[in-house]
Every structure is written in structure tokens, then in C-alpha cells.
Amino acid sequence: MTVGTKERVAAGIGESAPRPDGVAKLSGNFAYGSDLWIDGMLWGATLRSPYAHARLVELDITPAVVMSGVRAVLTQDDVPGRPTFGQVEQDQPVLCDGVARYWGEPVAIVAADDQETARAAVEAIIVEWEPLPPVTDPDQARAAGETYRDMVIRRGDADAAGSVVIEGEYETAIQDQAPLGPEAGLAIPDGSGGVDLHVTTQWIHIDHAQIIASLDMEPDDVRCHPVGIGGAFGAREDISLHIHVAMLALRTGRPVRIVYDRTESFAGHVKRHSARMRYRHEADDEGRLVKVTVDMVLDGGAYAHTSHAVLANASFFTVGPYKCDNVFVDAAVSRTNNPPAGAMRGFGAVQVCFAYESQMDRLAEALGLHPLEVRRRNALGPGDPMATSGQIVEGSLPTLRVIDELEAIPMPDAAIPDDPRRLPGGTGLTTPKDAVVRGVGFALGLKNLAFSEAFDDFSEVLLVLTPAGLEIHTAAIEVGQGLVTICEQIARTVLGIQAVAWVSADTSQIGSAGSTSASRQTQMTGGAVYEAAVGLRDKILQQFGGDELTNDGVYSGGELVATLDAVTADAPIEQWVRYRHPPTEEPDEFGQGNPHAGFVVAAHRAVVDVDPELGLVRVVQIDTAQDVGKALNPQAIVGQLEGGIAQGVGFAIMEELILEDGVILNPTFTDYLIPTLLDMPDVGSRLIEEPAHWGPFGAKGIGESPTISSTPAVVAAIRAATGRPLTRVPVRPQDIAGV
């Protein structure tokens, strides 16, 4: 049976339906994790390591324990179950195991009657450290065999050679997700040994599995509830305070709340891996790639987290959306004493995109080609083998079209603006307007959709039709991206029913929806809603002998045969699904095989004005053409594209966590710079609709693409303006000014 868009339903797919949580958020009434409050609760606080690498010589909690108002002080000895956690490798101690391996590593936790007392108790703990030399160089760690994973890709003929050779070394720094909402949790003991944990997360079930292991409790005795999330971008894919707050609540028998402050937040979540990448592109006289050889190291920091998968992405996307028959990659992600790295929007595809797009620009320049022309000549499309894995691209991949559509977007006014507020550096600019130079740059980026490498990736949804309308029960996490909106739109369109409500389920009520990451929820939980809605509709039509379901009820031959009230009169009608994407495979030892479920491509063009003397940049305009499969909610997509570009601009010219001996020197919003409205360019967006081979209505996940290729486009534009090589991001003023 085919599914059509019923005219009678409003706010179905393809419309820019408003967010159901918008009014509450605009009125200050939306409850985020850090807003949770229950009378009689205790406040938690965390003692952290001041060193990146140190031996714990003495830890005396007595002075804190005896303080008035302190209810519990816990250390590693108090962890009831598995002393470590981690998504892939369980290598991170819940609390310091005698050696601190990164700056800010949790050592002890306190619960007290109020926040001031909790913080004072942390200060009162006597702790003596023996500092050890930190390993901070990922190349050094790799040479010593300290890696979480090594990847080898061997495809094609090692003796293949091109007539044009481009070699380059590139570096990307550490970017922080810096979500505005801090890490927060409230744990409430249930009085019979169990606990309800309300916590900020991107994937509540993977948290739950790690929490129960460390608490040594049965799954049903720990119920994890999603709460309102103030942004995520990867920062909440790994455990932060989850186990700590539950331990304190279980020990004290009272509700406990922990909310990180901004500096703790910087210390308390994983970051984007920094990377060093050595590239060699060989091409023929026409600019077609003959061979790409890459050696790279990512810095995984002190614990594994998702480094395995990040390295796989960096390796498989090392050539970008281009064809090449001979590809040789050696890659590693190192264990160091730098802050643990993990998921951030783009997840390994960001770092290599900066490198391969820089290489493509240099190739174009060497051959006297327009930057987009060399990309056209190499564009990867449906039916082509991936340059790295050899996997044949299935479904849509409109690489050529994103280039064409990008070029069709009008350029900004060619004149450098007169208004000093629109010049690099703003009103503080000391350079005459005549010295400001303009540049234009381009970049393309490729990303996989959903989880890869044979991971059993699924999302569960339960639909319940009642007289009041349809309920979508799921543990999928809305972090602000608009998942709730589009799932409701999908349900409305399939069922023809107007009243649809989202019911956020806890871990005891439904199975996993998987992670809100990897550009996956639109297709995965959206796909689950679609499949469940089709099943529910067919069930109802069969039961009531109809051929069409609408907001009024069941129709047969144009006649209403049962109202919705009649349909649900006896009992609610339910439909549960566990939705999976097409299976993926573990690649072989040379990285060959079918590791991915699908791909998404995007193109960016950046226009920048640069003050070459002070090294200041103003990004004038960024345009993008984005492969979306099917635009379920155009306004929400544009919001993702613009927001992702903002993070890409940030990474290009200002966002960097600066380390010294593994210590973060700028863990505040005063020193870690995030683009403001003054820094943000105008954005032109084109959405390319070529349906994906799986997922609801052919939609693709687009959350990561805008962050991947916007960064190299900005840097290419600065290069075009200044002639500087700029092999590192973020580009700093001294890189431009050459001092």
C-alpha cells in the first residue's frame, strides 16, 4: 500500500511545522536538566585532579565527612560494581583509581545540604599528588604503541603514480561542543533499593547499561529518564556525572542533584579529537585522482570513549566525496594525558575534510583549474566505489548537483562595506578599508548516515492511538535539533490524524532508540515512526473494513464507516516496531567491504574579508547546497544548516581548547570563543531532494554536514585573500599576519 499526503492533515511532512516545545522554551517554562528540583534534595560536587598525570599519594576525606551538612563523601572504594565505564572499552575509572590520567578527572564526590557546603567539603578533602610527566604528543604515544585503534586501508595498486603530486601536512586543534546547557542530573531513591535518574544525555540506554554495571544493580531497579537538553553536539554521548549522582543518592537515601558549572563542563565531557594528517595526492594531467596516500594520528586523550569509531570515520572519509582507485591509509588514535576525546558533530569526518579539501584546492591551483572544476572531475556518485572501502554507493549521492546548486546562489555585493561595523575587527579595526582583501573559497564534505561497521543499530517506537489522538512513545533524545517535530509530522502524514503527542519514555518502558548522533535520528526514529504508523493504519483499516484513514475516522469508498472515537472505543490501538537500517559489515583487515549504511554530501562557499596586517577575518557570507533526501521540515533543516555553519566558522577562525601539559588553559566562555551574531555571516541555503534508499519518505540526516565542509571553505577563502598556506585550524591572527 502506498502512502499519500492527506490534504486534511496540517503540519504534515514537507511543511515548516512549528516546534511543539517552542512556546514553553520562549516563556521560560521548559524544564532542562539544570532546572530539576525536588524538596529535600542534596547537592553534589566533585573533586577533580589538578594535574594531567599524577599519582594519588594521599586522599583523606575525614575533614569533609565531619563537616556540618555533609551527608556523603565517596571515592573509588565506594563504587558498588564495575569500577570503570566506557561505551566501547570500559577503561575509565568511575572515580580516580590511584592515578589521574587527565586534568579534571573526578577523584571524589560529595553530597551536602546545599551547594556552598558541598563545594566547601570538596575543598576540605586532603589530597596529595605526585605529579608524573604527562604524555601530550599523540605521535609520541603512537610510536610507543599507545593507541586505542589502528586502521589500515589498502586499496588498489601501490605502484600507481600520477603526473601531478601534491603533498601537505595539516593539523586541526581541539574543538569543544560547548552546549549552553550544562551537564545535570537528579537521582531520586525509590525507597526500596532502586533509583530514578533524570539526566542529560544523547542516548539514555547506553548510559543505563554502564550505570547498572557500576552500581551492580538489576536493570529494572535503575530507571533512567531523559530530561530537557540544552544542546549536545556529541558532548553528551558519554557518561559524565550519571554514576556519581546515583551513587550519592543510593548512599544517602535522599534525592541528589549535580549540575556542572561551565569550567566543570569543559573538564567533564569529551571533545573533538585534534588531528595531524600527512597527505599525498597524485593526479593525472586532467586533475583526476590516481592515488591518495595518508598517514594520520588523532589524539584520543586519556580514555577510549568513542575513539574507535571516530578513527574509522576519519579513515573511511579521508578522500572525501571523490573517486580514486588507489588509496593507502595508515591511521591511529593515540592514548595520551590530554582531555579524553570523543564525539563531536561530524565525528572524524571534520578533521580529514579540512585536509582533503586543502589538497584539492592545491591540485586545482597546480593545474590552473577552478576549485569546483577539479571537484567535478572527481565527483563520487551513485554506483561508484568509495575510494577507501570500495563499497558501492547505493541510493542517492548528488555530488555534482550540490556543486551546481552552490554556484547558482547569488554572491554578495562585491564592494567591501563602508560601515566599519562590517569590517574585520569591527569598530576596533585599525587598518584602512583599502587594505582589506576579499577571498572566496569552496569545499565539499562527505558523511556516513547512522552507525557503521556491523553495529546493530536500531530504534524502538511504540505508537498508541487513544480517543485523544496518537502518542509516540520513545526514548529518542531531542537535543534541540527538531526530532520531535519531524516525528510528529511523519505520523500525521501517514495516519491522517492531527493530534499527535510525543511521550518521552524511560529505560524501563521501552527499548533503545539509539543515539542522537551520527545524523541518524531523522532516519532511525523517524523511520520507526513511519513503519509503526503504516502498521497501525493497516491494522485499523483491516479491522474496520476501510480503505482510508483520516482525522475523522475510517472511510470505505468515500463513506465514513467508523469515527476515531469508535475505533478506539474498546481500547487504545498500539503498534510497536524496532526499526533497523540496512545491515553494514565489518571491513576486512585492509578496510575493504561495506561498512556504511548510506552517505550524505554537502558543498559550501565562503566569502571573507581579511585584514592581512592584524590577521583579522570577517566572514561575509557562506552558502551551502545540501543533500537532504527529502525535506521533511524545510525551516528546521535551514536551522540545522545555519547552526552547523556557525560551528564550522567557529572552528575555522576562533574555537580552540588550548592545552599546556595537558591542562586546559581556557575552560570558560571568556576565553573559549564562540561566534556571536557579530561574527556570523549571512547564509544562503539550497536543499537538494534526491530520496535516500532507506528512511522515512527518503529523508537523510543532515545534522553534521554543515559543520564538516564549512570550515575548509572559510580557510580556502582566507587563503585566496592572503596567499598564506594556512595548514592548521583554527586559523589564528598570527597565521595570517605571518608573525
Binding site: L26, S27, Y32, Q481, Q635, V638, G643, A646, T676, L677
Partner: protein
Amino acid sequence: MIVTFTINGEERSATVAGWESLLTVLRDNLGLAGSKNACEQGECGSCSVIVDGANLCSCLVMVGDCEGTTITTVEGIAHGSALHPIQQAILDEGGVQCGFCTPGFVITAAHLFAADPNPDEETMREAFSGNICRCTGYGALLRAFDRLAEDGT
């Protein structure tokens, strides 16, 4: 100490330590959690409130200095259950994603448009430069504010 002020048109008192921030007292003592704590350094604007006509980061205001002041928080912007035109414009243009910055943008917009109903784009960019949004890239917010400036509301 006891501090008394007018918040969203209502006289309120709170027993506080004078060094506590206005943000903490709003959130923890007065049940007004709409103002958000994201940096506590006055950098992000998520805690913006209007105090005696000034748009301030409430994390930087000592509550002891607020005796007798008139304060507007995000909870005081809507007219009953009806959104204020500023809130409606942000909603219509898709200016809300995670929403953590949204209360601050609503307050800064209320402050800006009360003083200047027709600001130009550069004035708006400056006015909102103290409010960080990590999700939207500001495009939808700027479109909402452009609409408000055109309407002159």
C-alpha cells in the same frame, strides 16, 4: 538579609545572602527558573533580565544591590497565555532549537525594541552580541528581529 523588589509586576521578597547573585535567587529562591545559568561570567547572556530599565546578566548582579528595583524576567514577557509579538516572531521563524539561550534573546529583544522599534541590522547585531546561541547560527533569530523591526512593534 531580606530583599524586596518588583518582579514581573509583582512585589516579591526573598531571604538571601547579600553576595548571592540575582540569578541564583531568581532560580533557587523565587521559582523563576526561566533565566538560565550557562557561564556565570556574563559572557553568554542566557540569564539576561531587565533591572530598572537596564539589560543585565543577572549572574553578575549581587542580589543585595537589588532592593527596591523593578525586574522583568522571561516569565514576565508574555501577555497571560498569549505570546508576546517578540516570542511569536521567534517561534514563527524557527529561532528556537535547544532553547537554552532563548530567554536571554527574548529579554534582549524586549529591551532593544522598547528603546528603538525600528533598529537597522547592524544595530541589532550589536545589541544581541552579548547573547550566545550555539544551535541556530542566529539566522532565524535575525529574521524574526528583522520582521519585528519592519513591523515597528
